[in-house]
Each structure stands twice: as C-alpha cells, then as structure tokens.
C-alpha cells in the first residue's frame, strides 16, 4: 500500500515537472501534508485515483444495467404468461428503464475493454481479444427486423434486408422447419447470420422490436413523414391459446396459429436471457478486487495506459459514435433505419445518456439507479493538479455545453417530437445540429487534455497485440 502511494506521488512529480517548468504556484504539489490544492482540488489526486474511480464506476453502471435487464426479464415473463395491455405497458417501461444505465455505459467502449473485447480462451477463462466482445450482441443496430419477425412492406418503399441471409421460411419466428426451438443459443448462433453484420438478432434492439414493432404512423399507415408515435405492435401479437386472451395475430387483423405467438414470446424471453448473460460477463470482468479486467486496469504499471483508454473512449464516443454515426447520419439521410432506438422512439434518451456518460467519466461521478451518487477522483481534478486549470475549466464547460444542448433534444422529444420527427422538421433540426457541433468542440478539448496529461491513445492497439507471440 505504502509502495503504491510512493509510486503514485513520484509519478505525479515527474508529470508535473515535465508539464510545467519553473514556478507554477502549486506549492502544495510536493505533497506537503494538509496543503490546500488549487481551486479546492486535493493535490493528492493522482492518475491512479482517477483510473480506480473510473473502474469502480464501470462496475456500477454495468451492474445497474444487469439489474435492470433482470428486472426486464421478470416483467417480460409476466407479460408473456399473461399478455394483458397493462403487462404490455409494464414490459415496455421496463425496457425504457433498462436503457437508462446502459446508455451511460457506452463511454466504456472504444478502449479495448470488456464490452468490446471480452471473450473466453480455450480453458474457459475470460480474456480480451480485439473485436470479440459482446457489444454487438448486446446493442448492435440497425436491426435485421425482417430476419426476426414479420415486417410490413410499406408500399414497396421499405428497404429490404439482405435477401441472401433470410431464412427460406421468411423469418426466425415464422420458420418452424429451420428453427424448431427458439432458444438463447439459437439467437446467439443466428447473430450476424451468414457473417452479415447487418443481421442483428439479439440484444436491446431485438427486444425493442418485439415489444414495439415497426415504427409506422399512428394510424398504421406508412408515409415518408413520420409522426410522434412509436412502433405499431398490438398486444394481440402475444395472445396464445394458453393465455386465453384472444386470437394470435402477426399484425393487425392477421390471425395466425397460436404457435407463432408462443414463439414470439419464446424469442422475447430468450433475448432477455441472453442479454443478462452477456451483461453478466462484463460485470464480472469489472468487479472491484476480483474482476480480471478491473485488476489489470488499475494495476500501477497500467495506470498511464488506462488513463489513455478513459480519454480515448470519451473522444471516440463523443465524435465518431454519437455525433457521427448516431446523429449526423440519421440527420442528413432522414432515415428511420439509422435512428438508434427507432422502434420505441427512445433515441433522444440514447443521445442524452451517451453524452451523460462522457460527463460522468470526466467528473468521476455516477448516479446509480437507486439514486445513490458515486463520486471520486476526476479528470477535472487531475487536470487542475497537473496545472492545467484553464483546460480543466474549458473541458468542463465544453461538456456542460453539450449536455445543455442534448437536453433540448431530450426535452423536445418529451414534448411530443420524437427524434425521427425532429430530424425532419427544419426548426427542430437546429438543436440536433447544435449538439453535434458541441460534441465536436468537446472532442477537440478532450484531445488537448490527452496532450496535457501526456498520454498517447495511439499506442492502445499494442495492448491487444496477438501477433508474433
């Protein structure tokens, strides 16, 4: 313990010496006991403290996601057993609740962590291998909805799924011959069917599609102009003979054999079950003290690389994933398919929560689902200790600016203009564009923070070097 503290202190001194020559006014930086830090920040905040805080919060946010997923599965099971309108609403609400912690977890992506890379070696031990992680199975989108269940061909205007990869019998739920039993093993096996990355069959969005159905208009008609309503699935799609609620349908007025509704329920439960398994692996890897990745991530010799990973994840989520893939493409192509949570019209929360996750990482803070607030050493603190006070404030301001602008998207959706409506409406597009621009500015400041803290994100690939050994 003592050794660790010494190491941390000396590395801090080195970092400070390198960062600023001459008198920087930080008399407390030598670590004199009780000396006050800058701007109320403890001078004892070290890189290691920030890394440990980040790792603990990773555990908390993934654990919350797991808890919410288990709750979702419970509610889904109740719904499938008794497909009433009330239980249907409860299932949808449980899905929306489950997205709240998970949306904030995405800042843990793009950094060679468990969510992207966790798999098992030949002995069954957890290991990180580039691109082998469960992220796709958990949250990939757009979905191959036509591979899962019936879809409505909207006046020939709907874009087809890849015809190469669809089952002969139409879709997994309808094809009793090719898929006699719908299990979580089947869902995992059919994920990226035919090696086609577009064939997403599991995870949050598969469950979302099975709960909401395609996002047609409120009257079930399809026109290019979408409205405030989310997906158009009716509860009758889950009426089985056993439930005695009524006739099973695949879409309004399309009565089908009860077995189809049973299989739809099987699919829903299997997808929730698989989601739990996948999240459990990530939670285990991040468990403080025992999780193999937690231990690796917080090791003294890895602290610098881990700090780089934190910042890399923040930067790449800010710009490439959120501003780029999730917002800019949806905005400019006005394509519902490119909207993240298109069935439930919950994309505004994805955007807000992804941005929030970045803010959490910066502030070293996370509010758990039960309301408890976790706080620890932050990148803000570290920048101040490092002497980059102005940069610390600049980054704080940039992130707050993003949050303020993302909050407008979120609020507009709550006022009835879902994200797919926002991106079609000239007035409502403005907040979307402003948020993208704020994320762009924020990314540039994150880059400065990377330089100031003297970490190199470019070296990250070496961590997963499997070659030549």
């Amino acid at each position: 313990m003592k050794k660790i503290a010494n190491f941390a202190l000396s590395s801090l001194c080195v970092a400070m010496l390198a960062a600023c020559s001459g008198d920087d006014g930080k008399d407390g930086a030598d670590g004199a006991p009780g000396a006050s830090g800058e701007s109320g920040v403890s001078t004892y905040v070290t890189e290691k403290d920030v890394v440990v805080t980040n790792a603990q919060h990773a555990y908390a946010v993934y654990a919350d996601s797991l808890i919410a997923a288990k709750q979702l599965k419970n509610v889904i099971e109740q719904f499938v057993a008794e497909p009433s309108e009330a239980n249907f609403s409860a299932a949808k609400n449980a899905w929306l609740d489950a997205r709240e912690p998970y949306g904030q977890s995405e800042v843990y992506r793009f950094r060679e962590g468990p969510i992207d890379n966790l798999t098992r070696d030949d002995n069954g031990n957890p290991v990180l291998v580039a691109e082998e992680g469960p992220e796709g199975a958990i949250n990939a989108w757009p979905l191959a909805e036509a591979l899962i269940d019936y879809t409505i061909d909207m006046d020939g205007a709907q874009l087809p799924e890849n015809p190469a990869s669809l089952p002969v019998g139409g879709n997994i739920i309808a094809d009793l011959a090719e898929f006699p039993d719908i299990t979580k093993a089947l869902l995992a096996e059919q994920f990226e069917r035919g090696d086609d990355e577009a064939n997403v069959t599991s995870g949050y969005h598969a469950i979302e599609f099975l709960l909401w159905g395609q996002d047609l208009n409120a009257d079930g008609s399809y026109t290019p102009n979408r409205d405030y309503s989310a997906g158009y699935r009716k509860v009758n799609d889950y009426y089985t003979a056993a439930s005695g609620m009524g006739e099973c349908t695949s879409g309004v007025d399309n009565v089908v054999d009860s077995v189809i509704c049973e299989r739809r329920g099987d699919y829903l439960i299997a997808a929730a079950d698989l989601l739990i398994d996948d999240l459990q692996g990530v939670v285990d890897a991040w468990t403080p003290g025992s999780g193999f990745h937690y231990v690796e991530f917080t090791k003294d010799e890895n602290v610098k690389a881990s700090l780089a990973k934190i910042l890399e994840g923040m930067g790449r989520l800010s710009f490439g994933e959120l501003a780029g893939e999730r917002m800019s493409i949806a905005l400019r192509t006005d394509s519902q398919e490119d909207e993240h949570s298109c069935f439930s019209d919950n994309t505004h929360r994805d955007i807000f929560l992804n941005a929030k996750g970045i803010q959490n990482a910066f502030n070293g803070a996370y509010q758990r689902m039960d309301g408890e607030t976790l706080e620890g050493a932050s990148i803000y603190d570290l920048l101040v200790v490092d002497g980059s006070h102005e940069l610390a404030n600049e980054l704080r301001a940039a992130i707050e600016d993003t949050m303020a602008k993302a909050a407008v998207i979120d609020t507009n959706a709550k006022l009835g203009y879902s994200f797919d409506v926002q991106i079609q409406n000239a007035d409502l597009k403005q907040p979307v564009t402003h948020t993208i621009e704020a994320l762009k500015s924020q990314t540039q400041v994150i880059k400065q923070a990377i330089e100031a803290l003297e970490v190199t994100t470019g070296d990250l690939e070496q961590d997963t070097d499997e070659f030549g050994s």
Partner: protein, 551 residues
Amino acid sequence: MKRHLLLTSFMLSALGCGGSSQSPEAKPSEPQPPVVTLPGQPNDGLAPLSSSTPDNNEHLAGGAVTTDVQNEDAFSQSAPAIRSDFALDAVFKSGDHLFRGTHKGLGPVFNNPTCQGCHIKDGRGEVPSSPQRAMTSMFLRISDENGQPDAVYGDQLQTFGTVAGHPTGALPKFNGALDEGLAYGEAYAFVEYENITGKFADGEEYELRKPIYKVTDLSYGPFNDTVRFSARVSPAIFGSGLLHAIPEQYITSYADPDDVDNDGISGRAVYVTEPISEQTKLARFGYKLGTASVLQQIAGAYRGDMGVTNRINQAEPCTENQVACNEQAALEQNSEANGLDLSDLDLAQVEFYNRLLAVPARRGFDVQTSTWQDDVKHGRALFFDANCNGCHVPRHKTGEAPASLLGDVDILGFTGESTPIAALSEQVIYPYSDLLLHDMGGECAPIKLENAQGGSCQVGENCIYVKRCEGLADNRPEGQASGTEWRTTPLWGLGLVQQVNARATYLHDGRARTISEAILWHGGEAEKAKQAYLAMSKTERSQLLAFLNSL
C-alpha cells in the same frame, strides 16, 4: 545462389528493356502514359527483393497501415494512424455505417441492398450453397461478343427487383417484366460444377471443380444473339487505398506487353478516364482493370450492384429497353441534389472508409526474435523460384496518396479543402500483385440454349442459357481486356480469407475451394509457374502453401 539467380534475371530484364510502354489500345487522342524504364525494377529507391531473405518489415504487409487483428474482423480494421485521431475515426466510422446499411433509392434492380452484403466483413463474397439459392455476393457480367452491353440487360445481371409486395426483393420471372410491367430481377443465374481430376508429378491426385454457368427466368425477354457472361465474386476491399497510392510509373515499370524479356509473362497496363478530373489514369481496380480509383470503383458498385445513383454514375441501371425498370425508377423519391439517390458526402465517407481499411499483418513471423517460420521462408523461396512473383509482384512503395476528388470530409460535410492522405503515403507495402492484365489462357464454347435435361432448346420458358469454359477464360472482352485476360489479384490477406468468411472460396468466380486449387487453375502466362507447382514434392507444396497462407 538464389540471390545470384535473381540478379541475373534483373540483368536480363535490363537488356530487354525496350520502352514498349504504350498500351496498344490507348486512344491516340488521350495523353500518352509515362515511358517505362527497366521492366520489373521501379525507380522507387528500394533495394531489389531477395528470394531467400525477406525484407526487414515484410511482415507489415500494409506498412504503417497494418493491423494485428487476425480474427473474422481482420479485414475490417482502420489504419492505426487514424484510430486515435478522433476526427478521422469519425469519418471512418460514418463510412462504415453507410457501408453496412441500406440506402434510399435502392433499385429498381439490384444484386444486394448493402455494400457489406457483397463484401462480407469487408472480405470476399461467396458462391451460393446450391443452385436454388440466388447469387447475392456474386453476379454475372454480360455483354455481346464485342464486350458491348446487352441492348436490353446492360452490362450486369441484377437478380432482384423492387416490386411492391416483395419486401426482400423480387426474383426474376420469365417474361415477368414484359407481361406484368413490374421491375422483377433481370434473370436468375446459377452455377453447377463438374469435377475434373489431375495428378502432381509425384502421383498425388487432385480434383478441381469446373463451373458451368446457367441463366434462366429472363424477365425482359431474350439476350442478344452473341451474349457473353462472366461470373464475378465480390473481392475483398481492404488495402485498396494503398494500391491507389502507388505511383503509376512504379506499376508500369513491370509492364512488358510484348514480352521482350521472353519469360513468358507480359503484363499490360491499361488506362481509363478518371471521373470528375476527366484525366487519363492507369486502371488498377476491377477483375479486368476497369477503373482507376477507389472512388470510381465504389460509385460503379453503388449504381450497378445496388441501383443507387450518385454523382459519378447518374443513371439507374436500366437500359432504355427496360420499360418496367424505368417506370419503377420514376417512382423513386430521389432525395439528393440533381435527383440522385446518394449524396456526395455519403460517397466521400464510404470512399474514405474503403481507402483506410488496414491490411492484416503476416503470420509466421516472430516479432520478438525477428525470425520467420522455416516453412514460410522456404515457401517464399519456392514462390520466387517458380516466378510466381513475375505477376504477383510482392512489394510496392506508395507515393503521396491523393486527396479525394470530392474533397476532404468530416462528419457533417465537406471542409472545402483537399488534402493528400498522409496515413497512406510513402509506405512500403507487400500486396503481391503487379496490378496489370495477364492472359490466363483457356477458352469457352459458344453459349448454348439447353433444356433442364441438357437437350437442345430454341426458345421459351424452359430454355436455359449455358456457358462452358476450359480454364480461366470467360470469352467476354471488357474494356481493354480480352476474354482471357485478368488483373493479377493481390494476394495479401490470402491466408485469412476463410477466417473472415468460412464459406469463401478463391479466384474471380469462387471456383477454387482451396489455395492449391486456385494455383492449379492458372494457365496462359502462368502456365510455367503452374507446371513448377505440379513438379514440386509434397514437402515443397506444403511449404509454398504455408507461405501463401502467411500472406
């Protein structure tokens, strides 16, 4: 010993140097291509390659644009230099999303709704598992005997059409487009195989599968009387940005159209007009060298494979004789400027994505000890000894990688600048191709009309167009390539092809199930090299394959 041999061959090349650089078919009005110096020895400042001693960084197949990822995503990685640059990473990611996704304005006819559906995990497409499954990551090019597009069907058979009530695309239906006026897929193509056998010199037998291509269910009436087909499986796309960045004169230095060095290998450079700049440029992409740039290649694929029109290919893939296709096209709600399906921004981002896909590092090399596995090293020497490197030129050096002709992009739009791509520039790379046309031999029988039982057939729903060829020939001239000429396929990533897609096979039409079969199909200019393979001992063959699998 081997070094000596190599030097001798360079000297022969030097003696044979005749400045025969001009493509015989280049149009006289176009600017003349650069003069070739020293065939086989580009003036790129690199020491000649040794057949016995690999270069120092030869395991880094793409130079700095090399990825260590070796799993099924080996072909889908970005260049390390842009990975940690948030702005470039974002453009790459946007391009990746567009590459995976569907676009508005698909059709009226198409082969696949997404880029990724053909270039599976950015790697090769595949042959359908049975004649009952439609081709979706391969297709047939068609033309008349002179290589001109068919008057009705154009230059490519699209298997699917956009018809209401067919949410995944309407398959072809005999005379369906004529009788019902609906934009069905154009025709149904499938392949059947005939096994042929042969023997290595040591007596070991091998079996090849000879493809017979058949076309039925013509939706728009019969083909022209001299119709020609050529089957194509989608190629892998990684590393294309590096190939695009090799200076023309380095590539043309390998050209020897009249085989003046008398080694049995010629190699022909062809030139095409680059879109937008309208300049004459060396063609380097396409199985028959049809395009000069990644941009031209992807713009052609958008239009030809997906029916997604764009700035470079503005017409839907319907000929004027396809009424149903044109009527369906008129219903498309083209959302982009000038009535196009795809925006320039989308096109530029997908171009960037394609260009910046990294090349997998070689296997068989120990980074710690800087040593190659023995069999890989021996196999490499055998590759040189058999003069496989006469076409599959191992090494090139890139110059300054040109900026996109569309301009620099970020996630929201064009920046107004036009900057060379530093990550791709000045890299020593090992693609194992000269990017030139070679005569690969073989010949085809005239296409016949047959019924399902193989009997003769004149006309009607039960008649099937059947194409049989010997060797690799397709008997279909295309652009400046003849019916027996093909571009040398780059071999980098070869050993990972089935890691990326277990069902993938080799050669332009996927007929070869193994790398060994692919070698055995070589003929024409590669006949000598194939004979050398046939003459190898079992150990040597396995060493050669170990080397090829390490690529």
